[in-house]
Symmetry: C2
DNA sequence: ATTTTGCGCAACCAAAAAGTTGCATATATA
DNA sequence: TATATATGCAACTTTTTGGTTGCGCAAAAT
């Protein structure tokens, strides 16, 4: 059972859940109301998100509030960093080319 | 058949392929040499990456060179942006709290 | 011209994932 | 106390995915 952040965000429903609980804690039922799927399937997605340590649970009476562990999202950001470097370099190279052309035009 | 960038990067082999061809174009055979899986399975991953428009193919005789379309990676970056805003805001809030504590300490 | 090489594609298979159904458990409420 | 509500969990089904095998085709090498 692969269980990492990349796997977690691969599913569109999970990305939508992430977006929902990014700013406020919500219960499974409330989350499920936003989708046209069953509570149980949302529950399953929440379990996966929990296993990936992407969400935090807080029991309050018989309700469980789920919220996003935003720090975990930084893992994706960190992975992306290497590619960000590449596209920035390419952009700079393009800039150099453009400025060279400019100079030659004078 | 869902086919988006998030689905593409969900598989560790595909992430490794992306890393491999990020800086230089490679043929399927060369890519496959870096893994202990068959050429065909790599070929299949390349097809998925192509369908997601994450890679670019360039035929050269009977060889096909694959390279990363780095711009596509920016889609992930764009998606991440909304969460980056959140964690930066939270950091600033923490900063405010800390500076308030500092002031009170004086 | 024949053989080898690089590749994609389709068919198949096993494993995993997504969703459903049914239940158990704990907390509220009447 | 009996009932309703919120939830997790396990079993089952269907769909998707990753991988293999076996082709066919075109380009290179012999």
């Amino acid at each position: 059972m692969r269980r990492d952040v990349f796997q977690a965000i691969a599913d569109p429903t999970r990305r939508a859940i992430i977006a929902l609980i990014a700013l406020q804690s919500l219960t499974p039922n409330t989350i499920a109301e936003n989708f046209n799927t069953s509570r149980q399937s949302i529950s399953k997605h929440l379990r996966i998100l929990t296993e990936c340590e992407l969400v935090h649970q807080e029991q309050q009476g018989r309700e469980i509030y789920y919220s996003l562990k935003i720090e975990k999202m930084k893992e994706i950001d960190a992975w992306l960093e290497q590619y960000r470097k590449i596209w920035e370099t390419r952009f700079n190279q393009l800039e150099n080319v453009l400025s060279t052309i400019k100079k030659q035009a004078k």
